[in-house]
Subunit: 339 residues, 2 copies
DNA sequence: CAATCTATCAAAACCGGTTTTGTAAAAGCT
DNA sequence: AGCTTTTACAAAACCGGTTTTGATAGATTG
């Protein structure tokens, strides 16, 4: 069922049918109704590919995942992605998910996607400091939306949660529990979220007048193993912390396992916290004290922000999203460590 | 940079340039080289949209996720998807990820996707018994590949792991540990994998001459909460099992939590097993005895199978994938329950 | 009443490719 | 030499839409 056949069936020209279907004004009311009715009856649907070619718009958005990363496997991110995809589907937009390999030049992959015409815009998952991807996208004036705020780039392009506040709160809680030796197994240093979290941590430490040991601030990819190894190092050092903040709940799990292996009792004589409220976090022992945020709201806002850029929609955007601390059993009073 | 401009630059016609780039034989060797060189220098890349329209092929594949499902959040499935996407990317294919809402008619959504011309083929994630989606796809002779074997449909369209064998093995192990009262919290009954697993369970039970209580075979969606509630029921019944097989590691975690809440000691006086080897499984206490399979191989084989259907490629396909039992600490001897 | 508008539709160009058909020159054959 | 093939390219049609331009009839206007 093409527009040509529909036009022939109606005894009209292609152009009139097209204009009728697309709400142009120079088409008689009766004619439009006839066209709409016939389209309905014959089950006509405009071929998206032809539409793309003619209009230059693909109604498709892209997101590129580093293939080696566990990003996709992170439950929080997966939820964001589902919610993003959901909202886009409602607006008749498609989402293409691509991967990038270690051996590929990231900039080139983004450039290819930009110039391919395959997508109208790109989502960026974890913003990095001085993110070359953003520089590239800005240079090409290509629409993008990031999950992660970066200073200096357009405010119109970011959705983020208040990472600083979250870790300020978490740190403050540890302090209020009597901890003075608080380590922080942070995410990779190049991520903006790592910087924000570190600031939150530092702010709380400074406000409390605590000494900040640079050895206590570590960076690693969000994997259990990394946290496990780092915790081992921390706890076996001359000056072991009494509380360890982890960058996510996976790491918290690794840290817990490590502490237990060393004879500590997490939640009793060593405090451990996570981030993200992963599905397992309330079921493990001890249940992980963590930070939760509305993942599906974040995904939806990212989609809305993108649509505002691409269309004349004016969705109200909530750029910053609140986090909530979920206090469970993996952290504890500092004095307990002297049991 | 369009083919027209490239042709003008070269002083050739569009058609010759197109044929040169696409390896047709009626083009002089020298000419072809000139064209290739110029394309390289001027950075010419054929517009995919135009190519799609002309060729009728989109080089795009689709996968539809139920929005309410936790499928996407399942680490095993996420890995399959990443690996799928990776292989497709290498072959210059795109992957569109769409969601479907509760209120939408699933058949209609699939039909729309089929007729839209947006995708050349569809991946199906969890095959169901008498799967209407497969019926539809077969009827339209639309290329598809499933993760999950269903009797009666073309063998050319399935990749699967040996679910039956996996649960046969798991059950057998429980029996060899002295268990006679083995419950099975299975996945939703409509999934083919649930049927296969049940068969494996039943086979092992029958071979051992054990009584099979129908109350011990339960079905639910793969969520911690479900396993938690069901375990509670099981353990508080007149005839509590001494071993509980769970459909995945999330459920195992729920079952463990439930047993602990009831005063049992999983891995000591109640045996619990999972499936999927999720990331958390080796770090929780007790570490979960589970089934592992090569998720990235599955994803890759699905992609290869699809390409075999769409192109004249002849990748060798491994339809069935081995599973491996990982014995850890969440299951135990039956006699221990009498401690 | 002739001139100008306006409403409504058709024709044609275009998006950027692929594919079919057409054609001139070179090569092969008897 | 004269005919048929082959080679190598160009022209044009096509994929299925959108958009620009064109045309006709009826209504409006001075």
């Amino acid at each position: 069922m093409s527009i040509k056949k529909l036009a022939e069936y109606l005894g009209l020209s292609k152009s009139t049918v097209s204009r009728a279907l697309n709400g142009y004004l120079d088409v008689n009311k009766d004619t439009r109704e006839k066209v709409l009715k016939a389209a309905q009856e014959l089950g006509y649907k405009a071929n998206p590919t032809a539409k793309r070619l003619a209009s230059g718009k693909s109604r498709t958005l892209g997101i590129i995942l580093p293939s080696d990363s566990n990003m996709f496997v992170s439950p929080a991110f997966a939820k964001v992605l589902v919610s993003l995809s959901e909202f886009l589907a409602q607006q008749d937009y498609q989402l293409i998910v691509t991967t990038i390999f270690d051996w590929q030049d990231e900039t080139q992959v983004y450039l290819d996607l930009i110039t391919s015409g395959l997508v109208d815009g790109i989502f960026i998952a974890r913003t990095r400091c001085n993110d070359l991807r953003l520089t590239l996208l800005e240079k090409h004036r290509f629409p993008y939306v990031c999950f992660g705020f970066e200073e200096g780039f357009s405010k119109e392009s970011f959705i983020d949660v208040d990472n600083q506040q979250a870790f300020y709160q978490l740190t403050q809680r540890q302090i209020s529990l009597g901890h003075t030796q608080i380590a922080f197994i942070n995410a990779s240093a190049e991520l903006t979220l790592s910087q924000a979290r570190k600031e939150g941590y530092l702010r709380a430490m400074k406000e409390a007048g605590l000494v900040i040991e640079s050895d206590w601030i570590l960076h690693a990819e969000l994997k259990q193993e990394n946290a496990l190894l780092m915790t081992e190092q921390l706890m076996q050092s001359n000056n072991p912390p009494t509380s360890i903040l982890c960058a996510d709940d996976s790491m918290a799990l690794g840290a817990i396992a490590s502490c237990e292996a060393l004879g500590y009792k997490p939640g009793i004589n060593i405090a451990i916290t996570g981030y993200g409220d992963y599905q397992h976090s309330r079921y493990v022992k001890p249940a992980i004290t963590t930070i939760k945020y509305d993942t599906s709201a974040v995904g939806k806002e990212m989609a809305k922000l993108m649509l505002n850029k691409l269309e004349n929609t004016a969705f109200h955007i909530q750029n910053w999203h609140q986090t909530e601390m979920l206090v469970r059993q993996s952290d504890c009073h500092a004095r307990a460590s002297k049991i």
